[in-house]
């Protein structure tokens, strides 16, 4: 038996070794392809339009990974259509971006198959910059005078902290806002809060009347972080949680502790429904629409949708968590926003220069079409663009007020330190679930130490 098995066993071993060896070879091949790709793009590509010859329409095919879904589809389509005039040689194919914490796009990057153009958040830009996957767009921006097309408040979004540009912004910096149901406040004789003390009083009053004070879609982690950011901004620190992301300060600093205490106090007063952490954005909007919840926290991009649901009952407040004694000074220090995010280009694209020019021009056209089609009151452009259907009253209010905005922090997805982002999202959710403030501060300080290593 022993001898009988010897031969097949040896063959099995040999085959296993071969499998391992082949897989290793495969790996080497892949890396060599990936590393050779960028150098190929340094030479003029056959499909790059030559200056002397008119390019053939649709001769350059680009893959474009973006939020091509829902209300944004007509915006993308219109921008694509408009660009056919400027760059007829380009034919783009959209791929719908997954809502997956950027896993898919990072996997593409790891496999060396990034789409030619893709939407990149600040965090993704930092990751892909470090791994040398991003095309530096400085020259394209200069050649096409992109900066001159952006208004003053949007120009900084074009440049990374290292002085280069890795993406061209396609939308403005939205603030986080509290939406509220005016009728519900009026019917219950509750004052619309203008500062933290009034907010606390309103929360207690709504709770006593069995109305959920705030519809928080806590299944997502960022709305809680936004509210904590507002609490800190409202005490006078315009950079709030963004400052911690940049490596400064700790949660033991008085202003952060104060912000944490405000949230904890509101939670104890009954700010949220018991089911808040299983509530999706749609669930929260439904609660708000039905009058079961008096307020809803979200980004200002949701104004059109909320107005559709509530009509003239809808209004917004920017930060009801400001300290009463500082309200005048800090009321225009906004929470929300982002930094240097927009459409970026893969360094390994076969048509990198065409893709970069297309991404830059597309970003501007996209911003324009958002105003025209979605009545975006938050234009990044110098050019005055008129929405087809005008602005609703809430959008008009935001549009008028946005001139007063002094500063903007960032939404959680704009944090550059991924470890910090994950830690603050998870821990803040625990704080909202009733964690003791001391424990939260201790956990966050520990997380900051890890994130800053």
């Amino acid at each position: 038996m022993k001898n009988k098995m010897k031969k097949p066993a040896s063959m099995l071993l040999a085959l296993s070794m071969l499998t391992l060896a082949l897989s290793a070879c495969g790996s080497n091949d892949k890396s060599s392809n990936a590393s050779s790709a960028p150098s190929a793009t340094t030479e003029p590509s056959a499909s790059t339009p030559a200056e002397s010859k008119a390019p053939e329409a649709g001769s350059v095919k680009l893959k474009f990974y973006a939020q091509y879904s829902g209300v944004e589809i007509p915006v993308y389509d219109a921008a694509k259509e408009a660009l056919k005039q400027a760059m007829p040689e380009v034919e783009v194919e959209f791929e719908v971006a997954a809502q997956d914490d950027e896993q898919k796009i990072k996997t593409y990057a790891a496999a060396g198959s990034l789409p030619d153009i893709f939407f990149a958040s600040s965090g993704l830009i930092e990751t892909l910059k470090k791994s040398d996957n991003l095309y530096v767009m400085d020259d394209v921006i200069k050649a096409n005078n992109i900066e001159s097309l952006l208004n003053e408040s949007s120009k900084p979004m074009l440049w990374n902290k290292d002085g280069h540009s890795y993406s061209v912004p396609n939308v403005g910096q939205w603030a986080g806002v509290f939406y509220y149901n005016k009728d519900l406040f009026a019917q219950n004789d509750i004052k619309v809060p203008t500062n933290y003390d009034e907010l606390l009083a309103a929360v207690k009053a709504f709770k006593a009347k069995n109305i959920t004070p705030l519809a928080l879609f806590g299944k997502e982690k960022w709305p809680g972080v936004l509210m904590l950011d507002m609490a800190i901004t409202g005490s006078g620190d315009a950079a709030a949680l963004k400052k911690l992301d940049a490596g400064e300060g700790t949660f033991s600093d008085e202003i952060y502790t104060k912000g944490v205490n405000k949230i904890s106090e509101l939670i104890k007063a009954g700010l949220l429904s018991k089911n808040a952490f299983n509530t999706t954005a749609d669930d929260a909007a439904a609660q708000f629409k039905s009058g079961k919840a008096a307020m809803l926290i979200n980004g200002a991009w949701s104004m059109a949708f909320q107005y559709e649901n509530l009509g003239d009952k809808l209004d917004i407040m920017y930060n009801p968590l400001v300290d009463a004694d500082k309200a005048d000074q800090v009321q225009w220090n906004m929470s929300g926003g982002g930094f240097n995010q927009g459409f970026a280009v893969s360094k390994n694209s076969k048509n990198v220069e065409v893709a970069a020019k297309y991404a830059a021009l597309f970003s501007i056209e996209f911003a324009k079409q958002r105003v025209i089609q979605l009545a975006d009151p938050n234009s990044i452009l110098v050019e005055k663009v008129v929405p087809t259907n005008g602005l609703n009253p809430v959008q008009q209010k935001y549009s008028d007020d946005s001139a007063n905005f002094k500063s903007m922090t960032t939404f959680a997805w704009g944090y550059e330190n991924a470890k910090y982002k994950t830690a603050i999202e998870d821990n803040t959710q625990k704080l909202f679930a009733g964690q003791k403030t001391d424990d939260y501060i201790k956990d966050m300080n520990k997380a900051l130490e890890t994130a800053r290593k």
């Binding site: 009988k4 990057a109 018991k274 299983n278 998870d426 679930a433 956990d443």
Partner: protein, 293 residues
């Protein structure tokens, strides 16, 4: 070709494809995971060797201990519910005189064929703190015990584990049921002649003779519990905070949310070792003697 050569060829033909497939799909990724666990690596940039630092960090990480404990709780719930209830139901339905036994046999397997996402959504509705089925039942009977089942620090993982146990009860039930069916009828007839009552008969005959089936059930229940991911991903997204994390969720968080593939690999390596340890222990201590009847 000689008989011996034909035998060897057949052996190769039937084993090599599986062996190669298993090596490529399982063995190599596991080895790579162990290798990457010694590196600081974001999944994209070149990795830096850091020795055992990731493992040392794991031991100091609250997420790790919560995840480890939650995995064990999940496994415990699967073992108790699926093997316990699976045994009771299988014994009950093995009695052919029970009316509708064919209907029940099929019914118990129905949840298994449902998608995990569907089952999770169903249980989210049942556990809903505002008017969910469980809280409504408490309210209906005037019991003041309404809970935020999926949010509470001490209820969340138990609630999620129970939904997972309910989902796959059918698999354990079928395994145990078929094992019971293979027990020779004459053993029960002899017990009946000796006047053994129904439950004592099963306690003394069925349960001991199921030991090898239980060994297999125990392995799939425990490793299934330790590897649980889908239920918490859909039902709570690991939260609030980390209270419904398991090691698989921690691995997901580290690798995909924090961009720490090296650290995530260390969590995965611990998970592999944990599953291996339980499998070895079960093989060593459960059903050591081969049964023949």
């Amino acid at each position: 070709m000689t008989t011996k050569a034909k035998y060897n060829l057949a052996l190769l033909v039937f084993t090599v494809p599986t062996l190669v497939f298993f090596t490529v799909i399982v063995v190599i990724p596991i080895l790579q995971t162990f290798q990457k666990s010694f590196f600081d690596w974001d999944g994209l940039s070149p990795a830096t060797f850091i020795g055992l630092d990731n493992y040392a960090r794991l031991l100091e990480d609250d997420d790790f201990w919560v995840s480890l404990m939650n995995g064990l709780i999940f496994a415990l719930v699967l073992v108790v519910y699926q093997m316990g209830l699976g045994t009771l139901l299988a014994i009950a339905l093995s009695n052919k005189s029970l009316k509708g036994h064919k209907f029940f046999r099929t019914s118990y397997f129905v949840p298994v064929v449902l998608s995990g996402v569907v089952v999770s959504q169903l249980w989210i509705a049942i556990y809903n703190a505002d008017g969910g089925l469980i809280n409504s039942l408490f309210a209906m009977f005037g019991i003041n015990y309404e809970q935020a089942w999926l949010v509470g620090e001490h209820t969340s993982i138990w609630a999620i584990a129970f939904s997972g146990a309910w989902h796959n009860l059918g698999i354990q039930f079928v395994l145990i049921y078929t094992a019971i069916k293979s027990i020779p009828e004459h053993l029960y007839e002899a017990a009946k002649i000796d006047g053994a009552p129904f439950w004592k008969m099963h306690w003394k005959i069925t349960i001991p003779l199921l030991s090898e089936t239980y060994k297999f059930c125990l392995i799939i229940a425990i490793t299934g519990g330790l590897n649980a991911f889908q239920n918490m991903f859909v039902m709570t997204n690991g939260g609030p905070g980390n209270i419904s994390y398991t090691l698989t969720f921690m691995m997901y968080k580290a690798a995909f949310r924090s961009g720490e593939y090296g650290y995530g690999s260390a969590a995965a390596a611990i998970l592999v070792l944990e599953c291996l340890l339980f499998t070895i222990l079960i093989n060593k201590f459960v059903a050591r003697d081969k049964l023949s009847y």
